[in-house]
């Protein structure tokens, strides 16, 4: 009897132990709920890239990858539950895909020693790696986006925005409020009038906000929206005949989902980006051959090349490159989360590297360091063509105003360090 019990105990322990023979990438996805339309293509892109690496290359450095998907429904509590239930599986890096979940996971991941990558979302000041040791937000953050939009407008106006009016239509949440301080600083610096127009969740009804814009007649509108708020805003802008070329969305307001509902009226709408658009990149041929054609696609295979699919794929590619860097640093193929963090902190993305991966000019070149977890903050501008139903890049990836953003990052991260008794340092 004792022998039997002992056998069961050993078996149970073995079953409960993390499988160490693969590289685990948890994917906190949302394929259900009100934001599913945005969550599905990202999750598909993230999973398909790792499947391609397994099928084509036999994993990374000879170790197979495993994507551990957990449904959050874009709900912060569920996101935290997902984290707790997957962290023991040997998870290498978390991509929460939600600013709310990110804020909850920053202290948890730091305590557990697991890195987190919040690409283009989350807590902007996490770019300060001396304070946020396990959070990375390269290659760009919300404040880079705000500055990138203003830089683009400066370029359009021969460097002078004096006397112009810029309105910010934003999701009335922690996410939507992120760019306000930056835009206020930039308004003082460049002399444009800045107006805030909040929209309450979920943003299905925005009549008041767009009547306000009709009355105030801003020259430009910048939008920080997500989900249904984006589609309604584009439609309402078209209804009041606001010039679409003067309407700029952040990257979370710049997918096909956001413009298709408005049809031809959305033509000319612009959105910021930190990665390439379309499927004219060699890597997609490999995805087709090794993933879709073999019936291994995470979704129906019909999202390839869409903005959010590309973003998910880009996130996966950056994670895979960080693994390679970690493997080089430690001479170990089956890496741990701590090694992964080292790899992320030493990540260098060059054009040569991206071209070799089948993604030439897909994203900006950047380096990560202990001091800078946010990369170079280069952002580009895309524009929607309603007739061909395609986005195209209409600017280069250009730098944002770090003279304004740098001090804001320092101020916010120092406040966080003081609140949490963190001594800023590089290990």
């Amino acid at each position: 009897m004792k022998y039997k019990l002992g056998t069961y105990a050993v078996a149970a322990v073995m079953a409960a132990s993390p499988v160490m023979a693969d590289l685990v990438f948890p994917s906190l996805s949302y394929r259900t709920g009100p934001y599913a339309a945005g969550g599905i293509p990202f999750a598909d892109g993230y999973a398909d890239y790792f499947t391609m690496l397994n099928e084509r290359d036999g994993g990374i450095g000879g170790v197979m990858t495993r994507v551990l998907e957990c449904e959050t429904g874009y709900n912060t509590e569920k996101g935290v539950e997902c984290y707790e239930s997957t962290k023991g599986e040997g998870s290498l890096v978390y991509q929460p895909l939600s600013t709310g979940i990110t804020y909850q996971l920053i202290p948890k991941t730091t305590a557990d020693g697991i890195p987190m990558h919040t690409m283009g979302y989350g807590r902007t000041s996490a770019a300060n790696g001396e304070v946020f040791s396990h959070t990375f937000n390269y290659p760009a953050n919300y404040w880079n986006g705000a500055s990138g939009a203003i830089n683009y407008l400066l370029e359009q106006n021969d460097g002078d925005l004096n006397g112009k009016r810029v309105a910010l239509v934003y999701h009335n949440s922690a996410y939507g409020k992120e760019p306000i301080r930056t835009l206020q600083e930039l308004s003082a610096k460049h002399g444009f009038e800045f107006k805030e127009v909040p929209v309450d969740h979920p943003g299905q009804e925005q009549k008041s906000q767009w009547l306000q814009i009709r009355r105030d007649k801003p020259d430009y509108v910048i939008m920080y929206g997500w989900g249904v708020m984006n589609q309604v805003a584009v439609q309402e802008a078209a209804n009041i005949r606001f010039p679409m070329e003067n309407f700029i969305g952040i990257w979370w307001s710049g997918s096909e989902n956001d413009v298709l509902a408005a049809g031809d009226a959305a033509n000319g709408y612009k959105a910021l980006t930190f990665h390439g658009v379309g499927r004219d990149f060699p890597v997609f041929d490999d995805i087709q051959t090794h993933v879709v054609d073999k019936g291994n696609a995470a979704g129906a295979g019909d999202q390839i090349g869409t903005v959010l699919y590309n973003r998910g794929l880009y996130a996966a590619m950056l994670a895979a490159e960080a693994v390679k860097t970690a493997q080089e640093i430690h001479g170990e193929m089956d890496i741990t989360p701590a090694m992964m963090r080292d790899g992320m902190e030493a990540l260098e993305m060059t054009e040569a590297k991206m071209a070799a991966l089948g993604l030439p000019n897909f994203g900006p070149e950047f380096n990560v360091s202990c001091q800078n977890h946010g990369g170079t903050g280069l952002v580009g501008m895309t524009q929607w063509d309603a007739s061909s139903k395609t986005w195209s890049l209409v600017s280069d990836f250009a730098p944002s105003d770090m003279d304004v953003i740098g001090p804001l990052i320092a101020e916010d991260s120092e406040a966080y360090a003081a609140e949490n008794n963190i001594t800023p340092a590089c290990n």
Binding site: D200, Q204, L211, Q212, Q231, N239, A261, G263, A300
Partner: protein
């Protein structure tokens, strides 16, 4: 004309029209509550389900395609045809009637005589079940909704272009009126008149009212409770389809469409749960009230985004003085 006055007028007109859209959602709640005493939590999801079914039929999408492909290893997604909007609406109505029958047959028939809270809980379950079925049946991705009566004459734009252009430049500043809202107002007016005529002048309508007044008395004179409940859920399904079209035309059909139910709650609190005219008047008051408050006080002094809480505050104020709502029936229980 004074510019501020024109903008205020514009806000009032648009508030009224937004109120019509709220009332469209509230109507579905009223119909079911009036006839069966059930507060249908699933009304918002029914609007989503109806709109998704409409788009699916229009685009010739194969229902449950992902499931079929996963089980049988096939790769089917579309039938290869598209259906005219009018026909697609008819097919969708048929699906909603079938859904009404199934809800009655498999859920509420077994719950006759249960406490209202049990029936309410059943509608919560129904909401989540229906959301899951909608997802399996048509997929979670966003679907643009083009309801066209003729070529180039589609919602949300393309209808009433003349009115749009005329009002756009009126009085120098123009008065903005959304095409979609005009259509919604006309449709809502037709719907309400139709419902009133149905309830007053048809045999089934009178039977429906009899059940609403006293279902045991109605049963004793030979009215079939099952039939009336199927009828009422079908009507609520039809109203949900109309609401789904109007809201979905603006934002595309996606899962957040079910959240439009949140907009109907203050309308119901204000107009009463049992009155069709109450839903309309309540919608109009909430629509104008929240828009005017945002325009005159919210945006200039409170930082904006006041509409959501103001609608509930307004409804609460009415409740304090008239707990049954503006048009609701006063319940007097004598011991």
């Amino acid at each position: 004309m004074n510019e501020q006055l024109v903008y205020t007028f514009e806000v009032i007109v648009n508030g009224l029209m937004a109120g019509v859209l709220y009332a469209l959602v509230a109507l579905g709640f009223v119909l079911i509550y009036k006839a069966s005493g059930i507060f249908n939590y699933a009304q918002g999801v029914m609007a989503l389900f109806a709109a998704m079914t409409l788009v699916g039929i229009q685009n010739g999408q194969v229902p449950f395609a992902h499931l079929i492909n996963a089980i049988f290893g096939t790769d089917v997604h579309k039938f290869g045809w598209s259906v005219h909007s009018f026909l697609a609406i008819l097919f969708t109505v048929a699906v909603m009637v079938l859904l009404a029958w199934m809800v009655q047959r498999f859920v509420f028939r077994h719950l006759v005589g249960q406490e209202p809270i049990i029936l309410f809980m059943a509608t919560i379950g129904l909401a989540y079940f229906l959301e899951g079925v909608a997802d399996l049946m048509w997929g979670s991705e966003l679907k643009p909704l083009d309801v066209c009566m003729a070529q180039g004459n589609c919602l949300p734009q393309g209808m009433n272009g003349w009115l749009d252009n005329t009002t756009y430049d009126a009085w120098g500043t123009g008065v903005f009126i959304d095409n979609l809202d005009i259509v919604a107002t006309i449709v809502a007016a037709i719907l309400v008149i139709g419902l009133i005529v149905f309830a007053q002048y048809t045999k089934q309508g009178r039977a429906m009212r009899a059940v609403a007044d006293d279902h045991q008395a109605a049963l004793s004179v030979g009215v079939s409770l099952n039939f009336i409940w199927v009828l009422v859920w079908s009507l609520a399904g039809f109203v949900a389809l109309v609401a789904g079209i109007m809201w979905g035309a603006k934002s595309g059909v996606q899962f957040s469409l079910s959240l439009i139910a949140l907009k109907a709650l203050p309308v119901l609190m204000l107009g009463g749960f049992t009155s069709i005219p109450g839903a309309i008047v309540g919608g109009l008051i909430i629509g104008v009230g929240e828009k005017l408050f945002e325009f005159l006080i919210g945006a200039p002094f409170l930082g904006g985004a006041t509409e959501n809480w103001f609608a509930y505050m307004l409804a609460l104020l009415f409740l304090v003085f008239r707990p049954q709502g503006l048009f609701g029936e006063k319940i007097i229980e004598r011991v």
